[in-house]
Amino acid sequence: MNFKIPFVPEQASTMARDVDQLTFFLVGMAVFFTVLIAVMVLYFALRYRRRAADQVGSSFDHSTLLEVTWTVIPLLIVLFTFGWGAKVYFRLYRPPADAVQYYVTGKQWMWKAQHPTGQREINELHVPVGQPTRLLMTSEDVIHSFFVPAFRTKADVVPGRYTSLWFTPTKPGRYHLFCTEYCGAEHSRMIGWVTVQEPEEHQRWLASVPVQTAPAVAGGELYARLACGNCHREEPGLAGPPLHGLFGREVELADGRTVRADEQYLRESILRPGAKVVAGYQPVMPSYQSQVTEENVLALIDYIKSLEGVAR
């Protein structure tokens, strides 16, 4: 599609076209019903307008056939709409397995982003075209929401937990980034740009930015500084379980439940270790709530993810 449809923002991700198609269907449905009712109401109102002051209406006041019709047909239509919407929704929130992961932290009133290769940006995010991109996000204070209209996706950014969204950009360009969850005084200035670049251009851009330590490396340094290794090493036998090969695995808890070791779980294990205690261990791990920032936690998680090893 080369011409620009009025009032439809640029389609710059693989999902944009899907969402717009759904929109066109919805608009078509709405126009159909609006015209149907408008014509019906106007026609009846004029055709049966009052011609004499004492005139009254007829006694035709129900029809089971009509009423069943206008119950069942709308029902079928909304069920169809629901199904289509759900299909698009699942795709919007299920990142492809090969998505490259970036970290985004929202705070009053800026967006901080970190590349897997270590580059940091504020209120900007540079990504190569065609790369499935996943953002793992959290907030340092209140709830924000990460929204790029050209990608037709958004997700709230919530303190105390991770949320994520993904997109595969299809077109180089600069696209608006908005905070869409009201977050205080400067909410409308918590905006920025997502810049989609050709791969070579992106490589040049990456090289031009002063490289900082990649999150996994920074996490390793933190791990050493905070002496996590006193209790967690590759070989078992210490106070804490080995963290090697932990990410993505099912963990058995002391209370009998099992949980999957995803980012949310790792985060909680570091900040509130008592909440979910691993089976076979004492709850002796101290909370690091007051010693680490959100970015530190992300770095630690990235480091733990990089620890490959034998499954316990």
């Binding site: 009032f7 969402v19 759904l22 929109t23 449905m29 709405a30 609006t34 009712i37 019906m40 009846f44 109102a45 049966y48 307008r49 009052r50 011609r51 002051a53 004492d54 005139q55 009254v56 209406g57 007829s58 006694s59 035709f60 006041d61 129900h62 009509l66 206008w70 119950t71 709308p74 029902l75 909304v78 709409t81 629901f82 919407g85 929704y89 699942f90 795709r91 919007l92 009053q108 204070d141 209140v142 709830i143 929401s145 929204f147 209209p149 037709r152 709230d156 919530v158 105390g160 949320t163 608006h176 908005f178 869409t180 009201y182 205080g184 005084a185 400067e186 909410h187 409308s188 200035r189």
Partner: protein, 548 residues
Amino acid sequence: MSSEAMAAERPNYLNATTGLKSWLLTLDHKRIGILYLLGVSAFFVLGGIFAMLIRLELVTPAGDLVQPDAYNRLFTSHGVLMVFFFLIPAIPGVLGNFLIPIMIGTKDLAFPRLNLLSWYLFMAGGTMALGGIIAGGVDTGWTFYTPYSSTYTMTAVIPVGLGVFVNGFSGILTGLNFMVTIHRMRAPGMTWFRLPLFVWSHYATSLIQVLGTPVLAITLVLLVFERAFHIGVFDPTRGGDPVFFQHLFWFYSHPAVYIMILPSMAVISELIAAFARKRIFGYHAVAFASIGIAVLGFLVWGHHMFVSGQSVYAGTAFSLLTMLVAIPSAIKVFNWSFTLYQGSVSFQTPMLYALGFIGLFMIGGLTGVFLGTLGFDVHVHDTYFVVAHFHYVMVGGTIMGYLGGLHYWWPKITGKLYPEFWGKISALLVFVGFNLTFFPQFLLGYMGMPRRYHAYPEEWQVLNVLSSAGASILGLGFVLPVLYFAWSLKKGPLAGRNPWGARGLEWETDSPPPTLNFDEPPVMNHEVYPYADGEPGSTSGMKPASAH
């Protein structure tokens, strides 16, 4: 004419007693209705002024008229006052109070003292909220999302929250009062299926008020405690969950949308029957649709959290349930439209409002289906699309019904006629102004303009200017009725008992009605809306439309 003049001199609820005290301590449901009229009008004017300032700020892309802090206070105050102190109480408080006892043929509500207490709670809550707005302002949005409202904002969340809390009890008590009245005090012969649809819809509203408002109360208490004593339920640094607040808040506030729209639907059913001179098509379906909306409305709150990180399966369930609410609404719209078929349709002001309501509510409802559609909602959530949608439902729906009802029953309430010509002009201005204000916001939303933005990118200016221009027309449309209603009190011609040739017990008593509503307790010995010729109750020699 002479009999009408005599009627006006007879004792009625307005001239039965005099003096300020006789009003402030009245137990008469009709006078309490008037007290509500004064109260909600005051809050509407304030909320409207805030709205005009918002639209004025948004004429230019830069945030140049007011500072961001002031802007955030403006839209919060607009939302809090309009939702809790105008839209929710307006129709039940004014028209419901005035009409329900008369329509079911009794002399008052079941608990007149409780009714007066409801009004005082409403005024007390409103005053507290207003006090907070004036003293410190509040900048959380009417949704009070945590942890911003509980931990971060420095503004007057507690007084405003408590104001809304107190006002909630007014709604609960009114709902209780209506329900008991409708169950226990119907005139002889007034069976459930002879109740005007106005009463059915208010019954459904009361159900939500009584069941839903306590949850709002709990939510607000938790919020106040969190703010004052840091109990930590919503604070992630203490192991709380800020999104939990959203669940609680919308568990009430989604049904609250139906607290606002069901009474308006109540009015519309009466208007369409009266101005088509025909029984509402599918009376039973319309009555049960009200109850269906009330019940289903409690099961859909999660559609406000499709992007908040809740599981995709929860999102799916809430989406499906949301779709189902569309069905009773669609049934109503079809039934109203079909009532016109073989009717005797006239186009007086109340009918213009009713027809306008159908148009606006339909767009509001259909865009509700859009938003319930998961894949679509992710893109437009928290954008102007949502703002446009809920204004179509709440302003296009509730205010159209409220104004239509006020015009229709004005002769009954005051005994005077308002000028029809100006009434029609105002209905037209409201309809045109409304669409011009809010339709562009759908487009802005789809293009990505987030709500609650004080400044915005330049490419969106044209649509914003259109919207602000529409708001001025809409404002004019609201000012006109104030002027001619006031004029009619002094100079309006006497209305007589039944100026519209309508059916219903309220038209069988004087205008204004006597304090006890009827000279003799009425008996309902015929079906409801008996317009068609030959039906029992269809008096006064009107003829069916068979001529054409």
